[in-house]
């Protein structure tokens, strides 16, 4: 065993290999046309949300009382709403509301869900029973009822929607994470890590978690879509953000009464919700296939 080779330059730990794993997944992902279209649309919505100030021709509160419920025209691409506000501008700003709620609520759900799922799956015993029974109880309560309760306490705002959806979303995440951990903790590399004196927290989050990322990423992506849908549902029910916040669900709710003579009021925000949610589902499906080694070369 010579020491001649030690002079080789040390590569950074995340070298070609780590990137090639992701490059591989990206190659696989690209083959899925629907997922690509979905990704394109999500990027489009994100850009819209970020640059809403530049894109929207009017502000969300500018009103032209004389032009109420007008159909789409050159001045107002999506028409105007009941009190004469530009619907296109409101849908553009709505992207910001939906994305903010979708991303924030899903982040909360993922962080809380991963922590509790990991504890339940890895430690087991009493901790597992306590966490899983708690989840069972909360899954038995419809989130709408929970939402109404929380909205009553915290007020009807974007933030209370984030809290509601974040704290109902983590239940599902925790179950998935627990299942992965139960399976992974029996693997020999976990046993080896224990035998070499690694601490519990380190084993859970540095060794097992990276191996469990695939289902979490897929679930998280689809969850952003379904969170946006839930947000729309809550807004529609009136327990979400209030006017003049341009929430898509709220706009659909307001347009409902004029469906017969001004269908555009419901159509455009409704379309925005449907397309955005669908895009996230497509991307989630694409990621599932791309990250699952067993589905390679199908």
């Amino acid at each position: 065993m010579s020491n001649l080779d030690t002079e080789v330059v040390v590569n950074s730990p995340e070298s070609t290999v780590a990137t090639s794993l992701w490059a591989d997944a990206w190659k696989q992902f690209k083959r899925n046309k629907l997922a690509l279209v979905g990704l394109g649309f999500i990027v489009f919505v994100l850009l819209t949300a970020v640059f809403a100030d530049l894109i929207a021709p009017y502000s969300i509160t500018d009103r032209d009382v004389g032009r109420s419920r007008e159909g789409p025209s050159g001045d107002h691409w999506f028409g105007t709403d009941i009190i004469g506000r530009d619907l296109f501008s409101r849908v553009v700003y709505g992207a910001r509301v939906s994305m903010k709620i979708g991303l924030a609520a899903t982040s909360i759900a993922l962080v809380v869900g991963v922590i509790f799922g990991a504890l339940a799956g890895y430690i087991g015993k009493f901790v597992e029973s306590a966490i899983m029974r708690f989840i069972d109880v909360f899954l038995a309560i419809p989130y709408i009822i929970l939402a109404i309760a929380i909205a009553t306490v915290f007020g009807k705002s974007e933030n209370s929607v984030i809290i509601v959806l974040g704290f109902t979303g983590w239940l599902g995440v925790a179950r998935i994470v627990r299942a992965s951990f139960l399976q992974l903790k029996k693997q020999e590399f976990v046993e080896a890590a224990q035998a070499l004196g690694f601490g519990r927290v380190r084993i859970m989050f540095r060794h097992i978690l990276p191996n469990a990322l695939q289902p979490i990423i897929v679930y998280g992506t689809i969850a952003i879509g379904s969170t946006i849908l839930s947000e729309a549902a809550l807004s529609f029910l009136g327990v979400g953000p209030q006017d003049p916040t341009p929430a898509w669900g709220l706009m659909v709710s307001q347009g409902r009464s004029d469906l017969a003579n001004a269908p555009h009021l419901l159509f455009f925000p409704g379309l925005a919700i449907a397309l955005t949610v669908t895009a996230f589902v497509f991307v989630g499906d694409g990621l599932r296939d791309a990250l699952d080694p067993k589905l390679k070369d199908r």
Partner: protein, 351 residues
């Protein structure tokens, strides 16, 4: 370093690495260890009263079939089996009973003072981290080294276990390593913190024969390099013959024979050990000699046979009689060579 080993050789050559028994200080001393699993079907007597010492500089082999309790014994020493109940006995590590240690203290022992090498290096390394990072992590948690220093030491250690271009290899993931290289990486991980004792649980079983020899050679070199002891758990008597100083044969959780490798190979005192030796091919001796397998299969550890656990499979058993009625005790056959048979080899061996 290397001039000694010819692993796999059926006849035990005297090796330069052999220190003989008792030359170094006693590191690990297991006294009358009895441990059971309580399952829904009954109590599994996984380890039933075993006693042995491991000295610094020594290779101590534990030999037995699958389910004989050899791995469970090692895992119990490490305190890694949450479901096992130690009923009696002591596990003395440098004079202190490991069974009294709390989890924090055990964690420092594991990896820091006693390190374990696993059977299947394919699954024992984390697939998502680079090999270098995994090896370096040992120094980070046990010796509190910085990321950079730990990586430097990891690369030195990978070099020590004979991984070519260690700096480049350190940045690779386990799946890019061959089986032998992975096992070397695993050994590197185990020796990062210069432990006093290495427990190698079937370290070469998952490797092909040519690689086995290389990995065993690394193991012996390392032992001398860091001046540790090794507990080698294996079912491969060829490996034992080539490497070990002392050995213990286990059957159904019992220690059936104990002694130096030479004594056990040349003056076999227990019919089970003889059965094991007869069932491996002899490469240098008489090729026409048929292999004699041990008939039957190992007993259930829940419903153990009465008397001597081996009597239903023993060709020399006196049934009905003492073999099926009384549990044999370990008996000294001379100079610490112990056997748990009612009869001395002179009595049972057909002459």
């Amino acid at each position: 370093m290397t001039d000694q080993v010819s692993p796999g050789a059926p006849v035990a050559p005297k090796l330069a690495s052999r220190h003989g028994s008792g030359s170094g200080e006693v590191l690990l001393s297991v006294r009358n260890l009895e441990a059971v699993f309580e399952t829904g079907d009954g109590i599994v007597h996984a380890v039933d009263g075993i006693t042995f010492d491991v000295h610094r500089g020594e290779i101590f082999a534990i030999v037995g079939e699958s389910g004989s309790g050899k791995s469970v014994s090692a895992m119990t020493v490490m305190g890694l089996l949450p479901t096992i109940k130690v009923r009696s006995g002591e596990i003395l590590w440098k004079g202190e009973n490991l069974l009294d240690f709390d989890e924090n203290r055990m964690r420092r022992i594991r990896g820091g003072e006693i390190a374990m090498i696993f059977q299947d290096p394919l699954t024992a390394l984390n697939p998502v981290h680079t090999v270098g990072r995994q090896v370096a992590e040992m120094a980070r948690i046990h010796d509190g080294l910085s990321k950079k220093d730990a990586m430097k030491r990891a690369i030195e250690t990978l070099d020590l276990v004979g991984i070519p271009e260690p700096a480049k290899r350190a940045a690779m993931h386990p799946h890019e390593f061959s089986g032998g290289m992975r096992q070397r990486a695993m050994i590197a991980m185990a020796i990062m913190c210069k432990p006093d004792l290495l427990i190698a649980d079937e370290p070469t079983t998952a490797l092909d024969v040519t690689v086995q020899a290389q990995v065993l050679e690394v193991l012996v070199d390392i032992k001398d390099e860091i001046d540790s002891g090794i507990v080698l758990i294996t079912h491969d008597l060829g490996v034992v013959a080539g490497l070990a100083d002392q050995m213990m044969v286990m059957y159904a959780g019992n220690q059936v024979e104990f002694g130096t490798v030479d004594e056990i190979f040349y003056e076999t005192a227990h019919p089970y050990t003889e059965g094991l030796l007869n069932s491996i091919p002899d490469l240098v001796g008489d090729h026409s000699k048929p292999l004699i397998p041990i008939k039957g299969s190992p007993p259930s550890l829940i419903n153990r046979p009465s008397g001597c656990a081996f009597h239903p499979r023993c060709s020399y058993a006196r049934v009905p009689g003492v073999c099926s009625e009384q549990e044999p005790k370990l008996r000294d056959e001379g100079q610490g060579h112990m056997s748990a048979c009612h009869f001395t080899s002179v009595d049972w061996k057909p002459q």
